[in-house]
């Protein structure tokens, strides 16, 4: 053990050694996890869904979800042992020694409790002698909320999403714990709010010498905040080290794949996803869990899990072949779009206005929106939640009736409702939704789901539609055997491909993509974006791509339309708009979007 590591031991805020959490059936969800976090340090715990990162985060509070338990290892926070204690002893430590900031503040704050009272409850439990009023107001001030009684008397629903998350952070800090575990605290927030919260966390940990474990799937966010990174895959930490080292010279092929999957809005690049699908808890192999997806595997990898190996001081990797992991190549900037959009307009939206209305008030979701889209072109609608981008997509798909304005397909004005449109019009416009788990009927086989549009909109017979299904499944690179399955048997990435295949079965001219990658893991997102690019090249498909993620937009769109509160703010070719934004709002979006500093030039570090 190096002197460095021993020094770390003495004052470690969090120390986890050999942690194992297993299901009742004995399968390990998390295995052999060891981390240490010093006071004032942020550890980014990174992993895709199913990697065990949340299980690890909860174990830091001595907690295991119902149906699972901590069976091995120790968790120590500021010298307090959390493993092997009774529930009562743990309760006394949680909140006082280590506290938790959950992902969704809207559901984790009690809606019936004034926020001041919610904060005071923490004090009542852990520090009954402190003056409650004073501490509550002081803590509100610490997270930059108004430190006055009027604000403390508000209910959670009277706060914005960002304010709500500040309240949960305040309640995690009010008893002055040594460590805070944050589980994707900014995932549900807009980029602008996210960037403010990240600054906040950064300031707080410096001021209070907090040890922070920041759990997320988003490496770009981690790059913005973490000192050290631990990458999890299939329940184990596959690589850990300083953020700088991991992001610039990853040694595990999985880390490398993850970083290469992340789209970037400053240097738009061709994304490379990781082939294959992450293994589930019940199908983890004996050897290295990454083996089936790995490009540098050897026979030994399959036989036993690789041990943790030191690459350098405080940089460990769990890979036999880490020495051959290629260096991160400087991103090849995307050339001019390979798809050649024609000049003929396919879709024109003229002064579109859409609103949601109750009997008494109407909320205008989009107003005076005008744009056009050529055959084969990809236009991105970008904006935060509430910008109206999804409403516009729904109007075009015939799911929401505009209150004013026109939508023209070719020269024909489209009816507001899909039902009132002609068969041909319905065929030419297809929509893919955000949540893949929701967009396929769970009671229907994939083949029936895909064959339906081909039969209804193209008049195919059952047999023709069956052949078409095989074709489009191949197009979206899914094996034909999936056709007989039900949606519940597929992963999120596979489901989204099926949803795209269903749209393709109609042989459309325009694909409306409503945030179709935001529910996916980055490595899967990269593959889906790659697929969309291919479809544009091969089929001449036009895309209306709705997204809040500028990096994603940069890697796929020809043109961008920036929306704010239902108004179009700025429109232009992607490259020009991202490099030289004209509008204040666009600039704000760009500055707030987290990104990984460029690996090639070491000088550019730290200023991102």
């Amino acid at each position: 053990m190096t002197a460095d590591a021993i020094a770390g031991d003495l004052g470690a805020a969090v120390r986890v050694d050999g942690l194992r959490v297993e299901l009742k059936t004995g399968q390990a969800v998390v295995e052999d996890v060891s981390i240490d976090v010093r006071p004032g340090e942020v550890l980014g715990l990174v992993g895709e869904s199913g990697s065990g990162k949340t299980t690890t985060a909860l174990a830091l509070l001595g907690y295991a979800r119902p149906g699972s338990r901590i069976t091995n290892g120790t968790v120590e926070v500021a010298g307090h042992q959390l493993t092997g204690r009774g529930e009562k002893a743990l309760r006394a430590l949680r909140g006082r020694v280590v506290s938790f900031v959950p992902q969704n503040p809207a559901t984790s704050l009690n809606p019936a409790l004034r926020i001041g009272d919610a904060l005071a409850d923490m004090l009542r439990a852990h520090a009954p002698n402190r003056s409650r009023d004073e501490s509550v107001l002081a803590t509100l001030g610490r997270v930059e909320l108004p430190p006055n009684r009027a604000f403390a008397r508000r209910y959670p629903h009277q706060l914005s999403g960002g304010q709500q998350q500040r309240v949960t952070i305040a309640s995690a800090l009010i008893c002055e714990p040594s460590a805070v575990v944050m589980d994707e605290p900014t995932t549900g927030l807009d980029v602008v709010t996210q960037s403010r919260i990240l600054d906040e966390i950064d300031r707080l940990r410096r001021e209070s010498r907090l040890g922070v474990v920041y759990v997320t799937h988003d490496l770009a966010v981690v790059a913005a905040i973490a000192d050290r990174i631990a990458v999890m895959y299939a329940g184990r930490i596959v690589e850990s080290g300083s953020a700088r080292e991991i992001l610039s010279r990853p040694r595990h092929p999985y880390t490398l794949g993850l970083i290469s999957s992340i789209p970037d809005h400053v240097t738009p690049r061709r994304l490379r996803g990781i082939p294959g699908v992450a293994v589930g808890v019940d199908e983890r192999p004996v050897g290295c869990a990454f083996f089936p997806r790995c490009g540098q595997r050897q026979q030994t990898c399959e036989l036993e899990p690789p041990p943790t190996t030191d690459v350098a001081a405080r940089h460990q990797v769990r890979c036999f072949e880490w020495r051959v992991t290629p260096a991160l190549v400087a991103p090849t900037p995307l050339g001019e779009s390979e798809a050649r959009p024609s000049i003929a307009p396919l879709l024109r939206v003229e002064r579109l206005r859409a609103s949601y209305g109750g009997r008494h008030e109407t909320v205008v979701a989009a107003s005076e929106i005008t744009f056009d889209l050529a055959y084969g072109e990809c236009l991105a609608l970008v904006g935060e939640s509430g910008s109206g981008k999804t409403t516009i997509a729904r109007c075009i798909a015939g799911l929401h009736e505009p209150s004013a304005g026109r939508i023209l397909l070719g020269d024909e004005t489209l009816a507001g409702k899909a039902k009132a449109r002609s068969l041909e019009e319905r065929r030419r416009i297809q929509i893919v939704f955000q949540n893949p788990a929701d967009s396929l009927n769970p009671r229907r086989r994939i083949i029936d789901e895909i064959a339906r549009p081909a039969r209804l909109l193209r008049g195919f017979t059952r047999q023709q539609a069956g052949q078409e299904t095989t074709l489009v499944l191949e197009r979206v690179r899914l094996p034909a055997r999936l056709a007989r399955r039900f949606p519940g048997e597929l992963s999120g990435g596979e489901l989204q491909r099926v949803a795209i295949a269903r749209a393709l079965a109609a042989n459309p001219d325009l694909l409306v993509c409503d945030e179709i990658t935001s529910a996916l893991d980055v490595s899967v997102q990269a593959a889906v974006l790659d697929l969309l690019g291919e479809l544009r090249r091969d089929l001449g498909l036009a895309l209306l791509f709705i997204s809040h993620d500028l990096g994603v937009v940069a890697s796929i769109a020809d043109r961008v339309l920036v929306l704010e509160h239902g108004h179009a703010r700025e429109e232009g070719p992607t490259r020009r708009l991202l490099a030289h934004p004209r509008e204040q709002y666009t600039r704000l979006l760009l500055e707030s979007a987290p990104r990984i500093p460029e690996p090639a030039s070491t000088t550019s570090f730290g200023d991102a």
């Binding site: 899909a418 788990a437 769970p442 229907r444």
Partner: protein
């Protein structure tokens, strides 16, 4: 195992189905094995079990066993048909109201609420008083009482499903309303339906039994489990079997229906939950 039979994997589903088959089988083929005629006195009233009458005799000295074997058909038939009619109407109204969310919704639901506001038994008594006692009136009355609550459950289940992506995809394809209801919505509300169905059937049996108890349903000498309980309740201490045997069978029938319904509902929920879990 086919999708439809997956509920058997849970213990309660299998036990429930076996019970259900036994009780329904007894009700259907029982009459062929009845040792005595339905209305033939074979001994003293409320005699204890003997070799001639294994379950003793009832208030008129008739064989309890024979009457039990005869008495299941009407319970199954009347309650079953009433539940089926109520469900057919409830499904149609609930699906339409929940899916369209148009003017149709308040109109359908408020008129269902009007029905809901009548006390169930009072409504049936008035109906029977006005239209006379007949099995058809009985069935329709019970169905009308059950219908509003069924429509409400179906409507709220439909409402929850109707904003999901696959329904919107069907709307964007321009599918007919009937196709959306049948293909997209109906299969996805099977869970709440099957949990509710058992309960409704139980309630139908209770309603039919109540009417029989008041003498407004089936008329003597026909045999019916519910009717037997009301006929023989005064002789409970003399020959407990005359009340216990039909009561136990009604209980078994309703328990079996509910066990199967719950098991189906559970498997439906589970399979819906697994969607998108693996990623």
């Amino acid at each position: 195992m086919p999708e439809a039979l997956r509920f058997l994997r849970s213990g309660t589903g299998g036990v429930g189905l076996v019970l259900l088959v036994l009780v329904v089988g007894l009700a259907l083929i029982g009459p062929f094995f009845a040792p005595h005629a339905l209305d033939e006195p074979i001994g003293l009233p409320y005699a204890s079990p003997s070799s001639a009458a294994p379950l003793g005799t009832d208030e008129l000295g008739r064989d309890v066993l024979s009457r039990v074997l005869w008495g299941g058909r009407s319970v199954l038939l009347l309650a079953g048909i009433a539940t089926a009619i109520a469900y057919a109407a409830g499904l149609l109204v609930g699906l339409l109201a929940g899916y369209t969310r148009s003017l149709l919704d308040p109109i359908l639901m408020r008129s269902a609420d009007v029905l809901l506001s009548f006390p169930a038994l009072l409504f049936l008594l008035v109906l029977v008083a006005g239209a006379g006692t007949s099995n058809a009136i009985l069935v329709i009355g019970v169905a009308v009482i059950q219908f509003p609550q069924i429509a409400r459950i179906i409507r709220s289940a439909t409402l929850a499903q109707s904003t999901r992506g696959f329904v919107e995809a069907a709307v964007a394809r321009g599918e007919r309303t009937a196709a959306i209801l049948r293909r997209e919505l109906l299969p996805n509300i099977v869970g709440p339906i099957s949990a509710d169905l058992g309960l409704r059937f139980t309630y139908s049996i209770i309603l039919v039994a109540s009417l029989n108890f008041f003498g407004l349903g089936l008329q003597p000498p026909s045999s019916d489990w519910a009717l037997m309980i009301s006929e023989n309740r005064s002789g409970l201490t003399l020959n407990p079997w005359s009340v216990l045997a039909p009561a136990v069978l009604i209980a078994l029938l309703t328990i079996a229906v509910n066990m199967v319904g719950d098991a189906v509902a559970r498997t439906q929920e589970q399979s819906a939950l697994t969607v998108g879990r693996r990623s």
